[in-house]
Subunit: 107 residues, 2 copies
DNA sequence: CGATGAATTAACTTACTGGTTATCTAATGC
DNA sequence: GCATTAGATAACCAGTAAGTTAATTCATCG
């Protein structure tokens, strides 16, 4: 389930920080790991989670591995949020309209 | 951490379904539980997670408890997604511009 | 008041997550 | 070929999450 993976990937602050970092440009695993004081294997697994969610991709260049964001990845989550937010502000509008149309039809 | 709560709340398909249902209008806990074949306590706890994420609120009406979505709740997550998506398509644009400006400055 | 019905809380189980250290793989440089 | 360096995998541990059934709260109805 793609949305599951996306949302749960983004639920972790370390992973969001990694995404934020990558939004500013590509980076190697080591560069990504540097700001955090957790072990490299931990970072490696975070990256794997992000990969499984299709949020990043990586390519081997020499002995480094260069990571980048995948532009299309966030759209699924964004669309979901957008759809439901609009839908229900829509309902609120309808409610407001209803209250306006039938002012004191209490009970 | 608000974004944590929001994203992890939305990471669960049952909770997303509940949000989707509520986007179409208020409902009692029992009504929300009906479509699922999990126990009521399980639903109750899902609702609590959604509450903690400020995605829903509820009010007691008689012996029922009526739930509704909170319009402002999704915006935090949405803003985060929007910001980073734009930022990094921005970087891609800059990359494209760079490639265009200096066509074959290879290595 | 006592019974019923809606929902939460408690206690428990199982599975997953995020971290660790230690080991392994693969590419570079001498 | 061997040492070094970047990174991934393995094995393990502690905390959290999601589900269950049983017990509890709270409001209505008779």
């Amino acid at each position: 389930m793609q949305l599951n993976d996306t949302f749960s990937a983004l639920a972790d602050p370390t992973r969001r920080a990694i995404v934020a970092r990558l939004a500013r440009g590509e980076a190697t695993v080591g560069e990504l790991a540097a700001p955090f004081d957790i072990s490299l294997p931990a970072i490696s697994r975070h990256l794997k989670v992000l990969e499984r969610a299709a949020l990043i991709s990586n390519v081997r260049v020499g002995k480094h591995r260069r990571c980048r964001l995948r532009p299309e990845a966030l759209t699924g989550a964004q669309d979901w949020l957008e759809f439901h937010r609009r839908f229900w502000t829509g309902s609120l509008d309808r409610l407001a309209a209803h209250l306006k149309t039938s002012p004191r039809t209490k009970k």
